[in-house]
């Protein structure tokens, strides 16, 4: 898939991704208009379906609110590439099916507005604007299995089905 990079810094926290004042809702269509509002109030206006967020270390730190990856996904972002992710955001993204890639080199080699090509299956990230090709860190083995099953909801369905 191809899209435009929206670049942000380190420690993008869940309070700026989706402030608690909007968290009386958990619906993507109600959260998405406020995605990243307190960090970049132009993001929602500028982002197109299939674009990417590229950020520094500890992306998604702070609250456990699943509303954060839901808002990002709802706003149209197809993937978040970061140097590292905060652990609850990491789990939540896997669970709701927001693709995330950990790749510091790609983050360093990408600027705001660059066109990227991403292959989620291989983890390959290519910067079409300024060149450069990188491979994101693969998911640990057990987590890959959960992803391949279609996420945690599918895992639970399969497991409870098997138990019956």
């Amino acid at each position: 898939m191809e899209g435009t990079a929206f670049k942000y810094g380190n420690n993008v926290d869940t309070d700026v991704i989706i402030p608690a004042r909007y968290c009386t809702s958990f619906l993507a269509e109600e959260l998405a208009p406020h995605a990243l509002e307190d960090l970049d109030d132009t993001f929602v206006k500028r982002v197109n379906q299939g674009d990417f967020i590229v950020a520094g270390r500890n992306f998604g730190c702070g609250s456990s609110r699943e509303n954060a990856p839901i808002a990002i996904k709802g706003a149209g972002a197809a993937c978040v590439i970061a140097e590292s992710f905060a652990r609850i955001f990491y789990r939540n993204s896997i669970n709701i099916g927001l693709p995330i890639l950990e790749c510091p080199e790609a983050v360093h080699g990408t600027e705001e507005g660059d066109k990227l090509h991403i292959n989620l299956e291989t983890g390959e990230i290519e910067n079409l604007t300024r060149g450069g090709k990188w491979i994101a860190a693969p998911f640990p083995e057990g987590i890959q299995e959960i992803i391949e099953l279609g996420g945690l909801v599918s895992y639970v369905k399969k497991r409870l089905g098997a138990e019956k």
Binding site: D13, T24, R65, R87, N92, L160
Partner: protein
Amino acid sequence: MAMTIAEKIFAAHSGKESVKPGDLIFAKLDRILGTDVTCSLSIKVFEEMGVEKVHNPDQLVLVNDHFVPAKDIKAAQLSKNMREFGQQQGVKNYFEVGRSGICHTVLPENGLAKPGDLIVGADSHTCTYGAVGAVASGIGSTDMAAAWAIGELWFRVPSTIRVEITGDLQEWVGAKDVILYIISQLGVEGAIYKILEFHGSTIENMSMDGRFTIANMAVEAGAKSGVIPADDTTLAFMDQVGVKDAQPIEADPDAEYEKIIEIDVSELKPQVAKPYLPSNAVDVDEVAGTRIDQVAIGSCTNGRIEDFEMAYRILKGKKIHPLVRVVIMPSSDKIYAELIDNGFAREFVAAGATIAPSTCGLCIGGHMGVLAEDEVGLYTTNRNFVGRNGHPSSQVFLSGPAVAAASAIAGEIVSPK
């Protein structure tokens, strides 16, 4: 194989002799905490999973705390959804407004967190229960739905950082100053995916109230959990809350740590974390003179009796600065009642403070004290990110209750000495 406290707890809950960092395990859960703000989404996901009954209703703890008393119609609906789900599922540990408080005080004071437990909660400060020698970690709503359904969750066994804290604290310096200082040394991502295991004479001499403050903020360094070994202080607390069979888990002497950090706090000054990161702590003198509009004393971080006692000693017989608003936030309804019984409440109100119901509202910028454009807060809470407490241009400084109370009188940040 030698193990840390967390490794022992993960091994015991996954039916294994031993585990090591990096292992992916499914582990049985002792408690699964949900709140009004995170349960509704979990209920929706739970229904999507096609599950009718939770695995074991006694694992569930449901607490009304974030947007209560309901701040608006949508918030009222969130509580209603959780209330009805709890009734349908036969959840005994359901905590209603007025008989509740902030979850991270409610669970321990009701004996629902004990040494050796593995607890998850759809709230990032679930790590607070590490104070009793448990592994406790925040999760999202889909994770919680899965945990309700199967009684277990997946974990990647994290490596552990051992933090040795030694030295007697100076007057007006408390647990909050210690943990703010530690986070400033580690950074907000210093313990990402890891466990912090706290040891040393400072911790051993610390009350349970102080230990809850330390464990509460482990997540602000990115940690999965912050664990304090259970000792006689812990067992006395467990006895007091009705848990008679608590068994401390100790780390093996030759357990492997990713690193060991040694911190001497004997010269530590009161700390203040500047906006917009909890890791921005400096000595209070460096920010002295900063004007403030609102002070908040309480929350799941500093809303226990020892915290209010510190504030009381400073505020008693004094008047809060005319340009400052002070909100007192007891972290449970039981603590609220204690503030009335011991006379603290009367003194706080006489000094010009208001006492809020026990809720997370102010701390998350939801209700009960939201900041306007460009306003400055001095809070004893745990986070000061952009926009967390109100308008995105507002600023929050984090401190312990002594700095907060002294500053409330002065109208600007001051050292309590």
